[in-house]
């Protein structure tokens, strides 16, 4: 749908919440949203919209549904901005949590989830050996991820790293990871548990 007449220049409002360091101030943006400033929401969308859509699209794997979810996420962020508590976490983290939770809920509630039943899992477990996974290659260019987690991911065996990344980035369920890696379900579950424990310890 296109408006007639005024298609000349893209309307561009200034990104209006900049801190002294010229970094986007997510916390101030949420405070402005809570105060009812539309420009704050637009600034946030211009800053993060494509990244949020990327995160959601990767999880839901459907462009139209991904845009629906980003719409809902932005409306949730707008209406719930006042409930964000900066003493308990980062504003950017909160924004991504709201968005990822909507995407994950939509996928887990949807029909995509095909559970591997326990019998199948047991059969798979019986014929598999963890040794076979030692040479697995990385499925993600995870070194691009900044911060502490890069160092801690490095400490995991590639196959366990892949489990974590397929779950977080691709939104895969245990069963989907097991199929993706052609690994036993029970083993995948154990890998993820142990990897989470190792990451938490490493990042403490």
């Amino acid at each position: 749908m296109r408006a007639s007449g005024n298609m000349t220049a893209p309307r561009r409002r200034p990104i209006f919440v900049l801190s002294a360091l010229n970094e986007f101030d997510y916390e101030a943006t949420l405070a402005a949203c809570a105060a009812g400033e539309h420009a704050a929401m637009q600034g946030l969308y211009e800053r993060e919209g494509a990244r949020l859509l990327g995160v959601v699209q990767r999880i839901v794997r459907d462009r139209a549904l991904a845009e629906d979810i980003v719409h809902d996420a932005c409306v949730n962020i707008w209406t719930r901005a006042a409930s964000f508590d900066p003493t308990r976490g980062s504003a950017r983290g909160w924004i991504y949590s709201v968005t990822r939770n909507l995407a994950l809920n939509a996928m887990r509630d949807g029909s995509r989830e095909v559970g591997v039943d326990e019998d199948t899992a047991a059969a798979l477990d019986a014929r598999a050996s963890v040794d076979a996974w030692h040479d697995m290659a990385d499925a993600f260019a995870w070194q691009a991820s900044a911060g502490r987690i890069e160092h801690c991911l490095q400490q995991l065996e590639p196959v366990r790293r892949n489990c974590i990344l397929h779950a977080y980035v691709d939104g895969f369920s245990h069963g989907e990871i097991a199929r993706q890696l052609d690994a036993p379900l029970g083993t995948v579950k154990a890998w993820i548990k142990r990897s989470l424990a190792a990451l938490r310890e490493c990042m403490a």
Partner: protein, 245 residues
């Protein structure tokens, strides 16, 4: 269940929180965590900590440039909430808020998706404990966009249709409730509706409600549509918006 603790050990909330944030829990497990999050501060803290730990991994997903329509749609939705709704809500019974003119003013101009949020925020703010409502829909008249019904789809796989007023239905006609998600071949009947009365519909046989899923009420013969599909005019229509917590 795979999350059972070792004998004698309490369930590890860090492990549970980690799998919640990672996304590997099933729908039921996610709902159980969300219910506990409402009251358990240590689980909340564990979930927040995992959110922060894993956030850098979000950058591994390639950005996708949204269609120009998306911002327009978001702007329309938040425009109708000139002031975020939770700030204007008075502590009075939610149903009275729903019927207040001021609350609904502006919704008619803003389209119906936005109305959903107001209703959702109202419900979220005023019921205690918070219900596990996952989707809200405001059904509006297609011509003047006047809201007539609210639909809540809860985690209990039940859809509740709540009237915002009484509407006239000719004696030889009935209102029939339908829904259709993207990809379905046609609308599915959720039953006949009595004007002015709320109705609960179990939907265990249907797939879970999805964002943007269509809901509508059509005017049909008194015993319902003879074809199993809508045959009469749409009286109220709206789309589902997902709401968390």
């Amino acid at each position: 269940m795979n999350t059972e603790p070792q004998a004698g050990m309490p369930p590890d909330i860090h492990e549970l929180a980690g799998e919640y944030v990672l996304g590997t829990l099933t729908a039921e497990q996610r709902r159980a965590v969300e219910l506990r999050l409402a009251t358990e501060a240590d689980l909340q803290a564990a979930v927040l900590a995992w959110g922060e730990r894993l956030l850098p991994l979000a950058s591994l997903a390639e950005p996708v440039v949204p269609s120009p329509r998306l911002w327009k749609r978001i702007a329309r939705s938040i425009d109708a909430l000139a002031v975020p709704a939770r700030r204007v809500i008075q502590p009075k019974p939610w149903w009275r808020d729903w019927r207040s003119l001021g609350l609904w003013r502006g919704l008619t101009a803003g389209g119906f998706a936005t109305a959903v949020i107001l209703a959702a925020v109202l419900v979220e703010r005023t019921m205690d404990p918070p219900p596990a409502t996952r989707f809200m829909v405001v059904l509006v008249a297609p011509d003047d966009k006047a809201p007539g019904w609210v639909v809540q789809a809860s985690a209990s796989r039940q859809i509740e249709l709540i009237p915002l007023g009484v509407m006239e239905v000719p004696a030889d006609k009935a209102l029939q409730f339908w829904t259709k998600a993207e990809g379905w071949s046609g609308p599915v009947s959720l039953g006949l509706v009595t004007p002015g009365q709320s109705m609960k519909v179990p939907v265990d046989k249907l797939p879970a409600v999805k964002p943007n899923q269509l809901f509508e009420l059509t005017l049909e013969p008194r015993t319902g549509s003879p074809t199993g599909k809508p045959t009469g005019p749409i009286r109220y229509i709206g789309r589902a918006v997902q709401v968390i917590m």
